[in-house]
């Protein structure tokens, strides 16, 4: 019976792929018109894929599905109560900075392992996201998540990524570094989520120290809400972090739009960090991304970013351009080749960095 269900899921995935073939990351959600939790165990996206997400990743995303004769991988470790997954990214990259020697290197960007224990199937789960390389083991997420019977509400408690706008793969995007809310800065706290119909909303209360020691009684409040239509989505995000050194506030608007084979992502945000000395904490960051699905398994990602690092002072703006070609020839394997160009004030060489990279991304 289970094999039959999985088979049906795979067929459904293939049909969906034939209609709307796609590749990876948040734009997938836009291309498929789905919420993040359709493909990820974490309702806010990233990390371990759901059974649906696993099947989709094997049957729809790659240019070719290698038929091994076995049922698709669903992450189950011999029992429906325990599931696992992982991601590995290995790069060959060259970095150029004016007036500096260029750096070429192989780099294991990260290897992550995910583990989910469905203590009460569909209602209560324990989840771990562990970065196992490079370097020693580093816990990213570890939480317990409880769904109501209707699956409209959930409560999550533990260490988690905070909800704020688009959860992009590129952690160095301006919109992620400006807020400081990304997948390198999980925090400990509690998150309440609402997933009903087209609504997708979260409210989190956390320490606000991004994994560091607690220095005060101040807390960080994160609010994220989006309306998800099959062809577009629009969301608002707000964050306030009250620390002893001063409060940091961020507000953002984000959205997605599917136009034929092109998925558009956009986010704009302003931050006001009063913990930064000399009043330099007022920033503005924007992102515009187009993902063009040239053919099944072939995606061209173009990103244009803008950063005003100090809204109180003119002439310091920075831009960042990225062109990334993503090829997913078969299930579980993706090749990415890209170029990122930074531009900024003439007197700072580091703001004129050029990055060329080829990345092998394995996932399961």
């Amino acid at each position: 019976m289970r094999r039959l269900l999985l088979g049906l899921l795979a067929v459904a995935g293939l049909i969906a792929g034939a209609l709307r073939p796609a590749v990876a990351e948040p734009y997938l959600a836009v291309q498929f018109g789905m919420k993040c939790n359709q493909c990820h165990v974490n309702p806010t996206g990233g990390g371990l894929r759901t059974t649906f997400g696993d099947v989709l990743a094997q049957t729809v995303i790659p240019a070719e599905h290698l038929d091994t004769g076995a049922a698709p991988w669903t992450g189950e470790l011999g029992t429906r109560y325990l599931r696992a997954g992982g991601d590995l990214r290995f790069d060959a990259q060259a970095t150029q900075v004016p007036h500096s020697a260029s750096v070429q290197e192989f780099s294991l960007e990260q290897a992550r392992v995910y583990l989910e224990a469905n203590v009460i199937p569909d209602r209560l789960l324990a989840y771990i996201d562990e970065q196992v390389a490079p370097g020693g083991s580093l816990n990213r997420e570890a939480y317990v998540l409880f769904w109501t019977a209707s699956h409209d509400w959930y409560v999550k408690a533990g260490q988690m990524y905070l909800p704020f706008g688009l959860r992009l793969q590129d952690q160095s995007a301006f919109v992620l570094t400006t807020t400081g809310i990304n997948m390198t800065t999980p925090d400990q706290g509690v998150e309440l989520g609402y997933e009903h119909g087209a609504w997708d909303a979260q409210l989190a209360v956390s320490n606000g120290t991004a994994g560091g020691a607690v220095k005060s009684d101040g807390k960080q409040y994160s609010l994220n809400a989006a309306y998800v239509h099959s062809a577009w989505r629009l969301g608002l995000a707000a964050n306030e972090n009250n620390q002893a050194s001063g409060a940091k506030r961020a507000e953002g608007v984000f959205g997605g739009l599917r136009l034929g084979p092109v998925s558009w992502l956009a986010q704009a945000e302003i931050t006001d960090d009063r913990s930064i000395p000399n009043g330099q904490g007022k920033q503005l960051a924007t992102l515009l991304e187009a993902d063009w699905l040239i053919a099944r398994g072939h995606n061209l990602k173009i990103t244009d970013e803008f950063l005003n690092p100090n809204r109180a002072v003119p002439n310091g703006e920075q831009t960042r351009w990225s062109v990334v070609y993503e090829l997913t020839p078969i299930q579980f394997a993706q090749l990415r080749a890209g170029f990122r160009r930074n531009d900024g004030i003439p007197q700072d060489n580091l703001e004129h960095q050029r990055l060329y990279f080829i990345e092998l991304h394995g996932y399961f």
């Binding site: 990259q93 970095t95 900075v97 007036h99 500096s100 750096v103 960007e109 990260q110 490079p134 370097g135 083991s137 952690q171 160095s172 570094t177 400081g180 390198t184 800065t185 606000g208 120290t209 991004a210 994994g211 560091g212 020691a213 101040g218 960080q220 972090n241 002893a244 001063g246 409060a247 940091k248 136009l259 034929g260 084979p261 092109v262 960090d273 913990s275 000395p277 000399n278 904490g281 515009l288 187009a290 063009w292 244009d304 803008f306 690092p309 100090n310 002072v313 003119p314 002439n315 310091g316 703006e317 831009t319 900024g344 004030i345 007197q347 700072d348 060489n349 580091l350 703001e351 990055l355």
Partner: protein, 291 residues
């Protein structure tokens, strides 16, 4: 209009609408208003080489690179690296990733977690820093190591150079009795010395030739009038730490009492890069015990 041309048109419009990078007018090297006294100050990431002092490291590394992320109340791992917080968050503070290791252990770059992170050393937790960017240049890392080796002072180069050039410590330490074999002696100065002045007339090793040469040495025991045997050594610079000198005997030291001599007086005496000599000659006596 075909969909791909529509895409090209739309993206072109988006590009035209996108803002350009700033011209930097009125800003210093780190994008702060000139004269604002901002965290970047003058000198910034684009000018000159980084030197082994906190101010230079802040201007070239912490402010333009690290504080893109490590700033504000929600800085990763609670580590803020803007000029107002870098020193207090780094020096003598346990790492949150490896609490048994200090982020910066003054005098010991090898056991400073920040150094390990920027070098991508084995055993670190998580990724090499700076995250998602090329590793720092070797010269920059060397300067940071040197700052740590110098004791991680919260002062600029000028202030460091004004410090008295002096012997900080040796290993084996003065008066110590150590077990054989002893293959090297490490001499640490307060800051970088002038390597051109290191030779067998300024640094040498002697072994006491008296019958009771294995008796423990005292810190005061210089044994000035004792017959001695000069030991053949090679003098090696430490590429990771220009404030330390390694004295390596050609043969492991046999049991006995030894005197390490440093000449800080007379012509071409040991001195730092500012030509400040040691405050006189130094003798360090130690004993190599029986196996």
């Amino acid at each position: 209009m075909p969909i791909d041309r529509r895409f090209g048109f739309a993206f072109s419009v988006a590009v035209l609408l996108a803002a350009c990078a700033g011209n930097g007018e009125g800003l210093d090297q780190n994008g702060n208003p000139i004269g604002s006294g901002g965290s970047g100050g003058s000198g910034g990431s684009g000018s000159g080489a980084v030197t082994a002092d906190l101010q230079s490291i802040e201007e070239h590394v912490f402010t333009p690179i690290c504080s893109k992320c490590h700033i504000g109340g929600s800085a990763p791992e609670g580590l803020e690296l803007d000029a107002d917080h870098a020193y207090q968050d780094l020096v003598g503070v346990p790492s949150s990733e490896q609490p048994s290791v200090l982020r910066v252990k003054p005098g010991d770059p090898d056991l400073s977690y920040m150094v390990q992170k920027i070098e991508g050393a084995p055993g670190i937790v998580g990724s090499q820093m700076p995250l998602g960017e090329a590793p720092l240049p070797a010269a920059t890392i060397a300067a940071i190591r040197q700052w740590v080796a110098n004791g991680a002072p919260n002062v600029s180069t000028g202030a460091v150079m004004s410090q008295v050039f002096e012997l900080r410590s040796t290993s084996p330490a003065r008066g110590a009795t150590v077990a054989p074999p002893v293959r090297q002696i490490v001499i640490a100065f307060t800051h970088e010395f002038d390597a051109t002045l290191v030779n067998d007339t300024t640094v040498w090793l002697e072994r006491a030739a008296s019958p009771d040469a294995t008796r423990p040495a005292s810190a005061e025991d210089a044994g000035a009038d004792e017959p001695v045997q000069r030991i053949a050594v090679s003098l090696m610079l430490n590429r990771h730490n220009p404030a330390t000198l390694i004295v390596r005997p050609l043969e492991p030291l046999a049991p006995g009492r030894y005197r390490l001599r440093l000449r800080g007086s007379g012509g071409a005496a040991l001195a730092d890069l500012g030509a400040s000599t040691l405050q006189g000659d130094r003798t360090i006596v130690f004993t190599v015990g029986a196996p």
